[in-house]
Point group: C2
Chain length 432, copies 2
């Protein structure tokens, strides 16, 4: 069965779809068994061949993308969504380069994570193995097809992809290129499949296929993530929100505070690691805040502040209670004064989303207390929250940043898409 | 609210129960926040004080256990279940010793799991933190109350326990001892709670409390595990079956094969790591099997074999197809001849439960192929499968052995009941 052609059938009934989905799951499971035993160099060969195929198919990808864009414009999609959907020759080249970077990264499978000997005579090793089959559900960005497919392949996992309906034509051509790469390395095409249709019903079925799918990774807005978390019978790795705070402590270096605040918000306001709320100790608000808020306003940022903030900066508007819980992903910043470290910790505990939280201070003791007491995937000292990123962490490409606590927390790269097994050797030992 | 007294109320309605369960969840969440920041020595102090309290309360525990046993006999429970339920002074002492062993083990929280520097100037560390709140659902063994409560405390997690109704009185006294230990270390009693009732409805509610419970660990028979896996809206760490095989390869050392086969089955046939099926290469069946089967039969084991096996050992009965999938947990063994390594791998792939699988051979290449290709939590070479145990692995006490691939695979000790966070430090770096 070819999932790329299945969608063209107009007579597909729910029963047919269920059978197709089961076949996709079974094929993924078989492919996963092959991938688990595939040497690193074979996977790297497939990734490089896929990158080459994407570069060669550039015109074809652009043509498919033009069709998707036309349909998206006809549907009245927002400018931001159109931008996420649009490919250019440069973006296609970056997509191919991304696969090559994944190929170059150390292979995560077969690594000895730990080994030790026991007094009983047993030699024990914990060795990395793939997870199995990963379902990736994402929205309009067609490059996720290459990124997610490449990361799953690198980590020895079979992928079942479900991209947004807006990018269905574009993603189809990209998937064909990935299959070309798999064939070049004599690997099964079922290593990377996609759902035969963008029907919601198919997603619902995928989320219940816990006999053939081991983990679900949703990438997208809050609505998508919540729906997946509510419906899935399969464990989900995801981040719901990036309600990131930067806390300027009374002991902050003014220059660092100014540079970090501007960068954390305005470098790219739309990423999940962007600062959404700035907290400042009351004692230093009047000395440190004015230049920081001026920088931000001059860079085009709207400031929503409490009373103290508005007195210091008349261009600020009054923050409403919901501002302390809003992930703007935009050039808007909520700014609040707090009494002290405890006040900042309490605000973050109530309003943070356990993504990334930062303190700016020269007071080492205050920094350690913040880093220890804040419960988040990433805690930072004198560092811009915009660094919350797998590539910046040196982990290679990432499939997302997990705000959950199970299996993987923080950036999820190829290393995190693995499980392990114990290999036990002895010279014939029996247990007393 | 005191969960120990709540059960005594006879006017409890479903609405009341829901409110009580929510209160237990909220109290656990608050206790988890305290435990996450509790120093290692404070947790160890609580564990030792709990052990002391259990030893001091020995008579009281035995009295409560006598009541549970009486009720269990009246209900007509099987001898095996009565044995699991019964406590003796020696078993109580072992339970206290178990808590002391957990106290002595290195603290899993705050360990630096990895650290590295980035060219950007960032210093990154991955540090172990607790998971949060763990729900443990188990059957009749009352000692699990101490073991599970102790392991959760050690790993900085709050525990919500739900033991079997048969051991409710006994577990209540043990829980009181754990609370004595917590108080001695000035820790909240809500660090270890139990459900106010053994109603199934309460378990159902627990399994949906995904806002306050982070992970569910069921311990018990297949029925319990399946029910929990099907109903839970919270990730589950569990093992469903221990369908463990020992494969005697043509290159096996006869003495090792004989000792390992006897031990793997008969040391304790009822544990999950006990061998359930013995596979033997056809080429060596007639030379190696007869003494092995004699040993087993003389030790009281029933042999269910294929035709070749029955010809070699007339006391063997004929295996039915379902024998290849039956976890006897008893002195019964299925024995099958296979053509070669591939035949053994195929049988294990179809009938194994990804728990523990062993090969006996002096052929290093065959051993490596087996260890690599078998997909199981634990794979062994020339070693009895009875070693599949957290303590034997040097991991201290275990809460169970996971056959799942997510978060924890194999023995689950205090180290596995943790998550991590990233601590990022720099001197004011902003992202270019």
């Amino acid at each position: 069965m070819n999932p790329d052609t299945a969608v063209l059938r107009s007579d597909s009934t729910s029963g047919d779809l269920r059978a197709e989905m089961a076949a996709i799951g079974a094929a993924a499971r078989r492919a996963a068994a092959v991938l688990a035993l595939t040497p690193a160099e074979t996977k790297a060969k497939a990734l490089r061949a896929a990158a080459e195929s994407i570069r060669r198919a550039s015109a074809e990808i652009l043509a498919a993308n033009a069709k998707d864009m036309e349909a998206a414009r006809a549907k009245g999609l927002s400018a931001a969504m159109l931008d996420r959907l649009a490919l250019t020759p440069a973006r296609i080249d970056a997509m191919a380069g991304g696969l090559e970077a994944i190929a170059d990264f150390p292979d995560p499978i077969g690594r000895t994570l730990a080994e030790w000997d026991r007094p009983s005579g047993l030699k024990i090793a914990r060795v990395a193995v793939p997870l199995g089959v990963i379902g990736v559900i994402y929205e309009s960005r067609p490059n996720v097809t290459a990124d997610a497919g490449g990361l799953c392949l690198k980590s020895g996992n079979a992928a079942i992809l479900r991209g947004g309906s807006e990018s269905f034509q574009t993603s189809g051509v990209i998937l064909t290129c990935l299959h070309t790469g798999l064939r070049a390395a004599s690997l099964p095409e079922a290593a990377i499949q996609r759902l035969p249709t963008t029907d919601r019903a198919a997603v619902g079925m995928l989320l219940t296929m816990n006999d053939t799918v081991d983990i679900i990774v949703p990438r997208g807005g809050r609505g998508l993530i919540e729906r997946v978390q509510n419906e899935s019978r399969i464990p989900v790795i995801a981040h719901l929100d990036g309600m990131c705070h930067t806390y300027i402590h009374a002991g902050a270096d003014p220059r660092k505070a100014r540079e970090i605040a501007l960068n954390a918000k305005m470098r790219r306001p739309g990423i999940c690691g962007a600062m959404e709320t700035l907290l400042v100790d009351r004692a230093v608000a009047s000395s440190l805040l004015p230049p920081i808020l001026s920088d931000l306003i001059e860079a085009g940022c709207e400031i929503r502040g409490d009373e103290t903030v508005r007195k210091l900066e008349p261009r600020a508007v009054t923050a409403k209670p919901e501002d302390w819980d809003t992930e703007y992903l935009d050039a808007i910043l909520a700014v609040k004064t707090v009494e002290d470290l405890d006040g900042a910790l309490e605000h973050i505990a109530h309003h943070g989303s356990q993504h990334t939280e930062a303190i700016v201070t020269e007071d080492a003791q205050a920094a350690e207390e913040f880093l220890t007491r804040v419960d988040a995937a990433i805690v930072m000292h004198n560092t811009s929250t915009q660094f919350a990123d797998g590539a910046e962490f040196g982990m290679g490409a990432e499939i997302g940043i997990s705000t959950g606590r199970l299996h993987a927390r923080g950036p999820v790269g190829a290393d995190q898409l693995t499980s392990y097994k114990y290999i036990v050797r002895s010279d014939g030992r029996v247990r007393p």
